[in-house]
Point group: C2
């Protein structure tokens, strides 16, 4: 860290199961450049780490950042992490185990590295730069393929002992309900994730109740994406709209339960589904939560759609490493 | 605070709907004296505040504490509080509104006063002196007439904006279930509080399925106390035991949901029901939570019955005011 405190640049990195993104930021967290690659995790850890380093190097080069001005790298990742060690413990979506991500990047780029859960990083991004700027307590809920959650409490991510927590997707909202990917039944993900909604839509399409959806995507759950669902609603599939609104209300019940515990002042909703249908989700989730949570705790809560979209994780991760390096005080 | 830092004494005060208790502590939080009175809130605020001050004075006198050695007073109270101002906002169980408890006590005793939620204080007591000593993150759950919750995260009580939170009793565990005192349906309190259990037991007694309970307490919900329920089980009422075990499993589901969010390392169970049946509650709640929470989050959790009993709130409240006064750091 030879650079002056005030002019350091930062890298935010978003490592996903299918794609990765490296974004270079200036000292005020303005985006200078952004590089994407496919993850190609099936080619193995070594090749994958090479791609990660390559993507970061390209982002630095395209932004014209000299290595000595690189203050640090923040990485957001969706799988189980040892947060203290910066190790990917066991990532089923990559097929990787025990990968010392932080150590590898620190050696390669000779700078501090922070490895964080991607939803934690994304919610921290919204807290620092987006829809929940400087809130006392932010609850972030991101329905997508699964449903991620995070809580920033008085400026700090709520965490377990070296692992991420706030697993709102596995809150049981329908006791004895449908089977969840985690092996239990009735988790929020079984009723309000993109996959759960897609399965209900596929059923409706099969029954002939969602003609536009059927035309757009057929009845294969894997083909029914957030965008398809939104398009089918716009085209007039009332049943699809009912399914999504019901899912958003279930989300509202889980949010109500979490609000009763955590008393956030802002609830940020993000992720693929919300990006496609922000008004529907924010309205329906908010109304359900207001009905189901305690008045004194829910009344002060502001509901908002995430503002940073795909950049939330890289911005949050960059801000986390900058904070660790004392940029902010 | 004329006294030397190291030899200050503290008062912990537990203000309940029916009774109050003042306990005097030495500088090491050893109990020196303890005074109880009935609250008699119906006689009005002024008379009630007089009783509070009298009880504190008696505890000080009986412990032989000179006023100048009193470091501070910590108060735990069950109703809605403005924590920053130390004001009882609106207490249905007392019929009191807008009572500036902290201000009154500060003037009367000329020392710092902290006003806290009683379950927050009790859980803090268990964290400092009891079943969860020095844990990174403690979840306290206290099933009684209602069900209180609290979380001590890295030594600090998780709070809302000047109000208490962690309202696990109002987590919805049976969507569309029975009516709760809060006006909503299916809250944890409707299936696992002492009142909910008593109502089920009263039904069983009415049907002739709980002969011992019927003999001990009749079928009046208000007469069926935690002790009666425990006695009926000991006497052989299998149906009563089933009811209580089922309630403890429901409690376990709520605890599982909270563990998924907060990743505590210790869950402390306390309150009247648990005091009467600690093994049953800890075992059944733990087993249910282990089935229903995410493995990586629930595996490290230690379950324990509260150790401080009736003293938890006064000990925690005293420790809170001592901490505020810098005794500990």
């Amino acid at each position: 860290m030879g650079a002056d405190k005030t002019d350091r640049n930062w890298i935010g990195f978003d490592l996903g199961g299918t794609k990765m993104m490296a974004t270079a930021f200036d000292e005020d967290f303005k985006i200078l450049s952004s590089e994407r690659k496919k993850t190609k995790a099936e080619k193995g850890v070594e090749s994958g780490m090479d791609r990660i380093c390559e993507t970061i190097s390209e982002a630095l080069d395209h932004a014209g950042i000299e290595r000595k001005r690189l203050g640090g790298i923040g990485v957001g990742f969706a799988g189980p992490l040892d947060l203290d060690k910066g190790v990917i413990v066991d990532a089923p979506n990559l097929g990787w185990r025990d990968v010392p991500l932080r150590e590898i990047l620190e050696k390669k780029f000779d700078c501090p590295v922070v490895v964080a859960n991607d939803v934690d990083a994304g919610t921290y991004g919204e807290y620092r730069f987006g829809a929940a700027r400087d809130a006392r307590c932010v609850l972030g809920v991101f329905p997508g393929t699964g449903i991620g959650g995070a809580c920033i409490y008085k400026g700090r991510i709520l965490k377990g002992d070296s692992q991420s927590c706030m697993e709102i997707g596995h809150m049981i909202v329908v006791p004895g309900g449908n089977l969840c990917g985690c092996g239990r039944r009735g988790c929020l993900e079984t009723v309000a994730s993109r996959l759960a909604i897609a399965a209900e839509c596929a059923l409706a399409a099969t029954r002939g109740n969602a003609p536009h959806l059927l035309e757009l995507a057929g009845s294969d759950v894997r083909e029914i994406r957030s965008g398809t669902i939104a398009s089918a609603i716009k085209a007039g599939d009332k049943v699809v709209e009912d399914i999504v609104r019901h899912a958003a209300r279930q989300l509202g019940m889980a949010v109500a339960n979490a609000v009763n515990l955590l008393a956030p002042d802002v609830v940020v909703l993000g992720g693929g589904l919300v990006e496609e249908m922000p008004d529907l989700f924010v309205e329906e989730t908010k109304n359900a939560a207001r009905r189901l949570a305690m008045k004194s705790l829910i009344d002060p809560v502001k509901f908002a759609a995430a503002k940073l979209g795909d950049n939330a994780t890289v911005m949050g991760a960059a801000a986390l490493v900058a904070e660790k390096c004392g940029k902010d005080g």
